[in-house]
Homo-oligomer: 443 residues x 2
């Protein structure tokens, strides 16, 4: 399936802030249209048609033929863009292949990845003379309802669409599966001087051919500064993964998402962030060895927070890679080893107690077990192990990496590092044995 | 697809050794027919029809309705079994569902699992008026060629089959995909007093309807004591997995397969073997701590060998489970920790050298990295990491568990445990870093 972007408008309201065409407005490190292209690439779409108008040259120059995004981009130009977005959408008839279904998307709306995946999967439900409209009936969640195109839905068909509709029960998200029927309807509307996309869609709605797909994930029409901020917020929230541990979910992400927001604008790569997190942990270990416990504790926790940023940036900027996942895992283990060794070194230097050695050995051996268990579970079942879900009541044990480093921070701040190390060792081995016991039921 | 077993014959030649019907002869812990049913279950076959003759009651009593094997078994009885196996096969017409393709199998032939999987996948290639015959043209590999039914193949069709054929280029393996055409041909053959399965098959071969599937895996017609031994050998060899390390593949399996051969006859479960392996490793650790280095070294290596037996028994007796895989992984880690701790304890007690502690810490942290890497790789790519293949020249490093425990055995025997521990630590971390470097290309 091909995707068609409407990128012809002037985008007056964001213009003062960015001084560039709206599709090229940068948001968390990617321009709006780039993010849409990369999101659709994640859904398997490789061919794109961008219909330009007002800022044709700037957009073509920026995106090129799509090579650098790993896709193929063609351009169509609509000289009469000022008439309305229906005329722009109709321009696609020059490129249309008979019988084809295509994705039609506003280039300045941003969609959650799950929303796009589900919508594209639903494309097969419509007949050749119908269209599919992504619609949202969670009206209380819709951002800036006033600006939206409302629609009256009866079951999963639209009866009528308009910006000014009193009796509505959903809004249109600016995302469609188009067919030849849409192009015909647009042509018909234009001949009657109806130049908006809505005019064409209303012709189909009037004859019961505008099917609806109700969405459950976020989407934002980036139209002004407020919606721009809202979109940033929604995208950042979407980066928190289900496999997060308790501390990570409830504490670390508050900070890591802010860091990601700043770093996304730079060219820093996820693997570079992984390295930074490792060096911060190494610095923490060094502090512990020197007896600078508070500093060590804070650095350990900082490293734990930065450990979330690499994945966030990778997901946010479509830079996820298997190698990145592996690199992060192995470096995390070394960071853990260094920190525990630093703490044990200081403890043993001060006391010469063999207990310090024993506890250190227990901590060093216990720590990798959490990851070992999770990866083995994933390899065996094909599904990730989710501590928040699978560990039941024991998810509150600080035995995952986020919990362990939090414990070490507390130990550092309150000058109770030996106690923290004992708890860490007990909890790590305890969790491994509990999981082994519980796995009998799960596997 | 249903599977039909011919289990009507007398099986005179094995009778003196086992005093039971041939399909019920035990071989490595399972009767011949049980192994065939469980092998086919692994290929997704759930419905079985067993055609009995000579020892109908004994077979029915033994297998029951299939519940305990997790399948459904129906029985048909052929009173005229003594006439020939064509009459027995024809009995299936009572149960035949029009248009059905079915697997037809001798209950006393044993097949490699890959052979069965490939053969069943090939079933879709034949038309409704054809049959598919598993045939072997690797004549030099065929066991007891003289006893086999030979066939003359032209491309992938059989022209003629017979035990006494001078001009042949393949043999029939006793495994077929049958159709209604086979039952018709059998009926026709019987009416002409041709009572052997080969008589019916020859009618189809004569009209170009006996398609061949050439096999590449092992199969054995268990007919006498010699073929019984041969079958044991082939089955045991098939248990060695591709992910084996160097020492495991070239040394440990020689012993573990022998142990498996003995243990398979008992009711011992794979998880029980995992526990035994763990306790032997714990005993090794204890010996090291007491300075009984030779004894410790030998026990460590014994534990490593037994560590292969659990998986072998699981595969051999269709007792594989995700839980078993997880249990084995975690207990192996604890066994490793104990052994290194035992060695380090003795070293430090004797010398009070902090080097012992440092080396022990490096060994304890390095050891889990091999598994961590492999499981993460598996989880990320969906494919297992195969040291023999992916590690390239570094596969000879003793950094996988088999290599590590072998190194420890050498250290124990030659009283060089500190050196072994140093090598182990260096090699384990070295391998992790090398893999991390090489993974850039692999992922």
């Amino acid at each position: 399936m091909r995707a068609v972007f409407l990128a012809a408008g002037e985008g007056k309201r964001l213009r003062p802030y960015f001084n560039r065409p709206k599709p090229l407005v940068p948001l968390l490190g990617l321009s709006l249209i780039e993010r849409n292209i990369l999101s659709l690439r994640e859904c398997g779409i490789k061919e794109f048609v961008v219909i330009t108008g007002c800022y044709a040259d700037a957009i073509e120059e920026y995106l090129g033929n799509g090579d650098k995004l790993g896709v193929e981009i063609k351009y169509l130009h609509n000289e009469r863009w000022a008439l309305g977005n229906g005329v722009t959408a109709y321009t696609f008839h020059q490129e249309y292949r008979p019988g084809e279904k295509f994705i039609l998307m506003m280039s300045d709306h941003i969609f959650g990845l799950d929303l796009l995946k589900n919508f594209i999967a639903a494309a097969q439900k419509i007949k050749e003379d119908e269209i599919l409209i992504a619609a949202d009936r969670r009206l209380e969640k819709v951002y800036d309802l006033e600006e939206c195109t409302k629609l009256k839905a009866e079951q999963d068909y639209a009866l009528k669409l308009s910006k000014k509709l009193d009796d509505f029960n959903a809004v249109d998200c600016g995302l469609f599966i188009g067919t030849g029927a849409l192009l015909e309807a647009l042509s018909q509307a234009i001949s009657r001087e109806g130049y908006a996309l809505t005019d064409g869609v209303n012709i189909l709605a009037g004859s019961g051919r505008a099917k609806l797909h109700f969405v459950n994930d976020f989407w934002v029409d980036v139209d002004d500064q407020a919606s721009y901020r809202h979109c940033e917020k929604m995208l950042l929230q979407s980066l928190v993964p289900a496999k997060d541990g308790f501390i990570s979910h409830h504490l670390n992400r508050r900070f890591s998402l802010r860091m990601t927001r700043c770093m996304a604008r730079t060219g820093i790569t996820p693997n570079q962030v992984t390295l930074i997190s490792f060096f911060v942990a190494a610095a923490a270990a060094f502090c512990f060895a020197l007896g600078k416990n508070i500093c060590g504790g804070l650095l350990a926790q900082l490293s734990s927070i930065i450990d979330g940023v690499d994945g966030e940036i990778a997901r946010l900027k479509f830079q996820k890679s298997n190698y990145g996942g592996l690199f992060d895992s192995i470096l995390d283990r070394y960071a853990d080893f260094l920190i525990v060794t630093g703490i044990a070194y200081a403890w043993y230097s001060a006391t010469s107690s063999p207990v310090a050695l024993l506890v250190a050995a227990a901590a060093l051996t216990g720590m990798p077990l959490s990851m070992l268990f999770k990866e083995k579970y994933h390899a065996l079942t094909g599904k990730p192990f989710l501590p928040e879900q699978h560990d039941g009541i024991f998810r509150y044990l600080p035995a995952n990496r986020d919990g362990r480093l939090f414990l070490i921070m507390l130990g550092g701040i309150f000058n109770l590092l030996p106690a923290a190390l004992v708890i860490l060792a007990v909890v790590a081995h305890g969790q491994a044995l509990i999981r082994l016991y519980q796995a009998r039921r799960m596997l």
